[in-house]
């Protein structure tokens, strides 16, 4: 009995593989209905399943495949041509075969899968009444078989009245179309597809069929568990190698060093080879997509051509499994929301047939999978509108977002821009789930879209789950690892050059190229003793949960490949760790779950967002609290956001020197560009004393001085009644302390002093 069990197992594995191929072949066949070779290949596959199922006494499977075989043999022999309804019938047969196989896999028998309607459907497609009737020996189809005789009439197997089917062309699932098809062939999905790519000559699948078979002869099946344990062992070896190499470097023994070097190389190669054994081409999950696109575009009345590039790109099989659903969802979404209807496309000067391109390639230790459509693109305005309506963002937040950030809102839970809810997408679940799933395996999703010309969704997926590129950092005498994929850049806060971590309503922020970056202090978040100085710390700029933030750590150590060890239940409960690993010296380091960390720290998001308003260049519509420095210039009062004030200084007038048309002052061994706000704002009759007060603003080593006449006050005020008089150098005015105060356009003032202030930023990257 066990032996029979093995045979059945083998049969199932083989049949599933063949069916995947069959799906692709059938869809390809529709585009080139004359291909005998393709038909023969399909025929062979069905024939094999039929033969084996007969031997294994799976009678329903045998009867079903026999019916399919009868139709296929006629097609192959040219007795009749493949038309849409026979294609649908064959696909329906494949689906039923699959259901039977699953039932056999689960229960060991054919269960209660009903094969008769499908057999009738297939039989109805056989045009010649004299054709051999499917399964003549089986009593079951006796009533169905005569249907073959009345072929031109609508299929008797149709569950719904043929009239209803024809009245709603191309609506509903493939089966419904199939049933109605004889009466309304022009609206058939298949026909559309067949028309769509008539000129496509060669079918790559055709060649791969043969290539695959020959590969099968030279390969063996290995239990995945074995590969997993092999992978684990190699992981250990990598760690041990790291320790040996480190140890040998401390002993100066040339012979030993050479051996260690060799060990190093062999281990790397072994690691690579073992990883390769778990690799499968992405084609495995792509192979189901032509069918998905075909059925979906048909039911939506759209014409979509699916192109695939790089289907040989390989991924770890566990990752492949994890990517499957998100990928399918993105493809469905692209067909549903991306590609327009043929009418719309033609009206916009595009070919009626849309193109959906799947592209996979390696890039920097990751696999990139792109799903590109040449459809309508994402309407930023509509996304913004919807996000507001759904309460995904506030008007305030929206005002500060650039279009990229707005588009990224589609990843927020509860977001959907579908004009109407379809059965395909637009249920408000989806993109956020896609994002969560991809992030769970250490990947990222982003989207690029140009209105009118299309959208690209990009998945960045690690090559393997077990070994990842990680950044190791130190905080409070412990090391932590961060997945490299989430790290955008590293910034060293150099205390020497006056860079600091600032605070906005108590929340730490860092000014990164003119934008405020909310910070999370690792020590504080982890409840470690908090360091008392913010000088000379590192900020790892991270991307998680659609937000960008900086993680403040003591030191950045290096980037290395680490072997991820799963956490025990009690460690998972802590909620901020994604795993653990063993670093070079043999000690255990925890891998931080960045998204969880960000959530835990709450990121003081609102405070930071409020502060973002104070940045030059951004202007808020609503009233809010601002901290302002009020300076006097003649009779006028000018307000400068306190964030733009690094220091207040008094300069002796005679120390302000002229260099060409500009003024400078020597300040702390530097030459500081100076701008007099009085002349910038056009008040020339300003008296000067012996010294002038100046506002010094420093950003990453570059400073400017804004000379005012007097410092009046620092206020924290609720600013409203702002008029938008756009005077030169001002962003408007407001009533502060019952007096009209002009609001300085600080960015402009800075550029007046030093035109290259924002463009020439010193290098802040130390890695990443």
């Amino acid at each position: 009995m066990d032996e029979l069990g093995d045979i059945i197992q083998e049969f199932l594995v083989e049949s599933h593989e063949n069916l995947d191929q069959l799906d692709r072949d059938l869809v390809a066949l529709e585009q080139d209905p004359g291909s005998r070779e393709m038909l023969s290949s399909i025929f062979r596959t069905i024939h094999t399943i039929k033969g084996t199922s007969g031997f294994l006494a799976f009678h329903r499977l045998e009867t079903l495949t026999h019916a399919g075989e009868s139709l296929l043999s006629r097609l192959r022999d040219g007795a009749q041509n493949l038309n849409p309804q026979s294609a649908d019938a064959l696909l329906a047969m494949v689906d039923t075969v699959r259901r039977l196989l699953s039932s056999i896999e689960e229960n060991g028998n054919e269960g209660d899968v009903d094969v008769d309607p499908v057999i009738a459907q297939v039989a109805a497609c056989i045009e010649d009444p004299a054709a051999p009737r499917p399964g003549p020996a089986k009593a079951a189809e006796a009533p169905a078989a005569p249907a073959a005789g009345s072929a031109p009439a609508p299929a008797p197997a149709a569950d719904e009245p043929a009239g209803a089917g024809t009245a709603t062309p191309a609506a509903g699932a493939a089966e419904a179309v199939a049933a109605a098809a004889p009466a309304e062939p022009a609206t058939s999905v298949a026909k559309v597809l067949a028309k769509a790519a008539p000129a496509e000559p060669a079918h790559p699948e055709e060649t791969s069929v043969h290539a695959k078979r020959s590969i099968a002869d030279s390969s063996i099946r290995v239990d995945v568990d074995l590969l997993d344990s092999l992978m684990r062992l190699v992981g250990e070896l990598v760690l041990t190698r790291n320790q040996i190499v480190r140890g040998v470097n401390e002993i100066s023994d040339p012979a030993l060093a050479r051996t260690a070097q060799r060990l190093n190389l062999i281990t790397s190669e072994l690691q690579e080879s073992v990883m390769k054994t778990r690799m499968q081409p992405i084609e495995h999950i792509w192979s189901k997509l032509p069918r998905v696109v075909r059925d979906l575009s048909g039911s939506l009345g759209k014409q979509v051509k699916l192109a695939m590039e790089g289907k040989e790109t390989e991924l770890d099989r566990s990752l492949l499994e994890a990517v499957k659903d998100p990928l399918t969802h993105l493809v469905r979404n692209a067909v549903d929301h991306g590609v327009e209807t043929p009418e719309e496309r033609v009206a916009n000067g595009k070919p009626a047939q849309g193109t959906l391109t799947l592209r996979a390639y390696h890039e920097g230790g990751h696999v990139i999978v792109e799903i590109t459509d040449d459809g309508a693109g994402i309407d930023v305005e509509r996304v913004a509108q919807t996000a507001l309506e759904r309460g995904v963002v506030s008007r305030d937040q929206l005002a500060r977002m650039d279009s990229r950030e707005v588009i990224a809102l589609v990843f927020q839970p509860g977001f959907s821009t579908a004009k109407k809810v379809t059965n395909v997408s637009g249920r408000g679940v989806g993109m956020d789930v896609v994002k969560t799933n991809i992030e769970q395996i250490g990947g990222t999703v982003d989207v690029d879209s140009t209105l009118g010309s299309g959208t690209t969704w990009r998945l960045t997926i690690p090559l393997t789950l077990a070994i990842i590129q990680a950044l190791t950092v130190e905080c409070g005498d412990e090391r932590y690892a961060i997945q490299q994929v989430g790290v955008d850049e590293l910034v060293f806060v150099d205390g020497q050059s006056g860079q600091t971590i600032e605070h906005v309503s108590g929340a730490p922020v860092y000014r990164l190229r003119g934008k405020l970056l909310p910070l999370v202090r690792l020590d504080e978040t982890l409840g470690l003793p908090v360091r008392n100085s913010d000088r000379d710390v590192y900020i790892a700029v991270l991307q998680a949960d659609g937000r960008r933030f900086g993680l403040v750590v003591d030191r950045v150590l290096n980037t290395e490949e680490i072997v991820v060890k799963p956490l025990s239940g009690r460690m998972k409960d802590v909620g901020v760790y994604a795993g653990s690993t063993i670093v070079g010296d043999g000690k255990v380091a925890l891998i931080l779950d960045i998204a969880a960390l960000a959530r835990r720290a709450h990121l003081a998001a609102e405070a930071v967002e409020r502060a973002q308003i104070d940045l030059p260049g951004t202007r808020a519509q609503d009233s809010r609290i601002e901290r302002l420095l009020i300076a006097g210039i003649g009779e006028r009062r000018v307000a400068i956001p306190l964030d733009m004030v690094t220091r207040l200084e008094e300069f002796p007038v005679e120390r302000i020197e002229r260099v060409g048309s500009r003024e400078v002052v020597q300040y702390r061994d530097h030459i500081l560009p100076v701008v007099r706000l009085a002349s910038l704002l056009g008040c020339y009759d300003v008296e000067e004393g012996e010294t002038v007060p100046a506002v010094v603003y420093t950003e990453r080593g570059r400073s400017v001085a804004l000379v005012v006449q007097q410092i009046v006050d620092i206020v924290e005020d609720h600013i409203e009644a702002r008029s938008d008089l756009d005077d030169d150098g001002l962003t408007g005015s407001a009533v502060i302390q019952q007096r009209v105060t002009e609001l300085l356009d600080v960015r402009r003032a800075i550029l007046a002093a030093d035109p290259r202030f924002y463009t020439e930023m010193p290098e802040t990257m130390v890695g990443a």
Binding site: E478, P529, G575
Partner: protein, 159 residues
């Protein structure tokens, strides 16, 4: 007469024992990686021949102040639900064979954390051995039902 072997160890001068079948190994170790935000009873993680093991501070589990892990500690590594976990103890004792008849339920006077973790007692010649429920002892999710709150443990740790 049915008997059972117990691996014994001491925590706070009290002798404990666990079924020897559950014990994987015993070793002294010093390099623990602390796990911030974890329950105080989690002493840390360490690398046992490539495997990351959680070390559970039995002192905390018994409602006592937590252990100073900057000095080497004794690990009794037990297998609980197919997972290896280390119980941090003060001193390791012998493996002793005890008749099941010598087993007694925990005395009523035993209170708090002890009562929660103890399945029974054995009267040895000169002292009492408390048989520990390894699963409960390794379970850090249950709040320690003792007067010595976890706060005290935290203070002791950060000091």
């Amino acid at each position: 007469m049915p008997s059972r072997q117990y691996a014994t160890f001491e925590v706070a001068d009290q002798l404990f024992g666990v079924d020897v079948a559950q014990v994987q190994e015993v070793l002294r170790f010093h390099e623990y990686t602390r796990v911030p935000l974890a329950p105080t009873s989690v002493g840390g993680l360490f690398n046992l021949r490539g495997q990351v093991i959680d070390a559970v501070d039995l002192r905390v589990q018994l409602g006592l102040p937590s252990r100073d892990l900057s000095v080497p500690a004794m690990n009794v590594i037990v297998s609980v639900d197919d997972e290896w976990v280390s119980l941090l103890v003060d001193r390791i004792g012998e493996v002793i064979e005890l008749d099941d008849e010598a087993f007694e339920p925990p005395p009523d006077t035993l209170a708090g954390a002890y009562r929660h973790l103890i399945v029974g007692t054995f009267k040895l010649q000169d002292r009492l051995m408390l048989a520990l429920d390894a699963r409960r002892a390794a379970d850090t999710t249950v709040p320690v039902p003792a007067q010595h709150s976890t706060d005290e443990g935290r203070l002791a740790r950060s000091a």
